[in-house]
């Protein structure tokens, strides 16, 4: 099959099998996503991030943990250390490269835990209604009433410092907004004709929630998660900065800023380089989120 006919096959209005229909829908979504330049930039940055994390040992010029006290606080462009060295003489570029693994790890874990918990609570609450709705939403309110970082701090303080606990703490504080969104969507979906129609086929609540409501909530949640990713990275960095996240000598970006803080006036690059990395990745997630909203939001699609 040539390139041209593959494209036609994907863009057909008359799919011939389930798989064909699915692929065709995905391809059309991709086409409209590709039209959004900013979102593509975001996507490329994130692909680059994943590649960097995957090939960290091959591309980093130095071992991120090897100290060289004779060569500490080297400025940008020092021979062999493009981004300079930190207070213990470690290569900042290599530490950033290895740090991307930690960032991705945090992002992936939070992205798995928080939205799924929120989706579950929100859709059940919205669909079932009544006292269950009241109870679940009051619990959500309690979580929402605390400032996120303060609540995360409390959790980490209780669970002990460390990257896993930081992730757990962030997830615990991140799910309530997702529950709210999912509930609001469920309330509008619940009263629509196609839900009535499937009720008339004798479908039970579990089936309706999972097969009919989830697919419509997920897209707005994905958008929201990508837009929140920046905040999550910053929260993780914030915990790292406060010494409650990743522990030294781990090259977590927030912890690196924290270390660089002491030299910020004389040796600004030690804190600025990880700051720049956090900024870039946060921005990339935001751009991606904006693009995804255009593709996935059914309201904008028509």
């Amino acid at each position: 099959m040539t390139e041209q006919t593959l494209r036609q096959w994907l863009l057909t209005d008359t799919p011939t099998s389930r798989r064909h229909a699915k692929l065709s829908a995905i391809y059309q979504g991709w086409l409209s996503f590709r039209g959004n330049t900013m979102a593509m930039i975001g996507l490329w940055i994130l692909i680059a991030l994943v590649a960097i994390a995957a090939f960290a040992p091959f591309i980093s010029p130095h071992d991120p943990f090897v100290q060289d006290l004779g060569n500490r606080l080297g400025p940008l462009g020092t021979e062999g250390h493009i981004l300079g060295t930190d207070s213990l003489g470690r290569d900042i570029l290599s530490r950033l490269i290895y740090g991307s693994r930690i960032t991705l790890y945090i992002v992936a874990l939070v992205a798995l835990i928080a939205p799924i918990a929120g989706l579950l609570v929100g859709t059940v609450s919205g669909y079932v209604g009544g006292w269950l709705d009241a109870v679940l939403m009051r619990i959500t309110d309690i979580f929402l009433a605390f400032p996120r970082l303060v609540l995360a701090l409390a959790f980490v303080a209780a669970l002990g410092a460390g990257i896993e606990n930081a992730v757990l703490a962030i997830s615990l504080t991140a799910w309530p907004p997702y529950a709210r969104i999912a509930r609001a969507e469920t309330l509008t979906i619940r009263s629509s004709d196609f839900i009535s129609a499937i009720q008339l086929q004798g479908a039970g609540p579990m089936r309706i929630i999972i097969r009919h409501i989830w697919p419509l909530c997920i897209s707005s949640l994905i958008v929201r998660v990508t837009l929140d990713m920046a905040g999550i990275i910053l929260a993780a960095a914030g915990l790292g900065f406060l010494g409650l996240g990743a522990q030294p000598p781990s090259p977590e970006w927030g912890a690196m800023i924290s270390e660089g803080r002491r030299f910020i006036l004389d040796h600004w690059w030690v804190a600025a380089m990880p700051g720049l990395a956090i900024f870039t990745v946060s921005l990339a997630f935001n751009l991606l989120g904006d693009g995804l909203r255009d593709v996935l939001d059914p309201k904008a699609g028509e």
Binding site: F194, A197, I198, G202, A203, H212, P298
Partner: protein, 244 residues
């Protein structure tokens, strides 16, 4: 087939209570097509929702095929009674293909030969196989309504509730859908209860009709009576005047 006795339906409670249907009674024998006519807010669609169990607060008597209905509907009820909704743009799940919609319906009713039945249903409503894997946004309004009709036919019901099935469609498409409904009724011996604000549509589709106003039935008559301009109630006459 269907008997409605002193049916009341209301929404809300206390001072917010709205009585949508007040003391409606009528009966539809097997094989007949019965129309409910009235203006918006007259409670005609609410009667359908009460029969299907989508309107939770009602009192009175609803008997389908000799069985009096309680507060909840047994699963077998949906093998007998199905409904086609007004707006084909709202009654199909936007992310489910035609195949998924019909397949899931058949699965829920415990059919085993789902593939063969999906193929047959699509043929029965005049869509054909090339529509099987399309999503609703790839279909026109008339095609969507055909899918909705196929879904309602899937469990092989005896009574079909039609809630303004063509009011969202263009007149030329309306003609196609009405013809399809006429054919299906003849071929399958279905009983129809059809709600419409359009007297000429009800006149075309039904043998008898009830005129509703403000939640109450003001007159039940044969369509022939309507045609002969022999409606008794002044409201029925004014409706007739407005639609000629």
């Amino acid at each position: 087939m269907l008997e409605i006795g002193k049916l009341n339906v209301w929404f809300g409670s206390g001072i917010d209570r709205v009585d949508a249907v007040k003391g409606a009674s009528f009966a539809v024998p097997k094989g007949e097509s019965f129309g409910l006519v009235g203006e918006s807010g007259s409670g005609k669609s609410t009667i359908l929702r009460a029969i299907t169990g989508l309107a939770p607060h009602w009192s009175g008597r609803i008997t389908v095929d000799g069985t009096e209905l309680g507060k909840s509907r047994p699963k077998a009820f949906y093998n007998t009674v199905q409904m086609v909704f007004q707006d084909p743009y709202a009654s199909l799940h936007p992310r489910h293909s035609v195949d998924q919609v019909l397949g899931e319906t058949l699965h829920l009713h415990g059919f085993k030969d789902i593939d063969a039945r999906v193929v047959k249903l699509l043929d029965d409503v005049g869509l054909g196989q090339k529509f099987r894997f399309r999503y609703p946004h790839q279909l026109s309004g008339g095609q969507r309504q055909r899918v909705a009709i196929a879904r309602a036919l899937a469990p092989e019901p005896q009574l079909l509730l039609l809630d303004e099935p063509t009011s969202a469609l263009d007149v030329s498409v309306q003609a196609e859908i009405l013809n399809l409904l006429v054919d299906l009724r003849r071929d399958r011996g279905l009983t129809y209860l059809m709600v419409s604000h359009d007297l000429s549509v009800v006149g075309h589709m039904c043998e008898r009709l009830a005129v509703m106003k403000d939640g109450a039935i003001v007159e039940v008559m044969a369509v022939d009576t309507l045609r002969r301009n022999a409606a008794e109630h002044p409201y029925s006459q004014s409706l007739l005047q407005a639609s000629l």
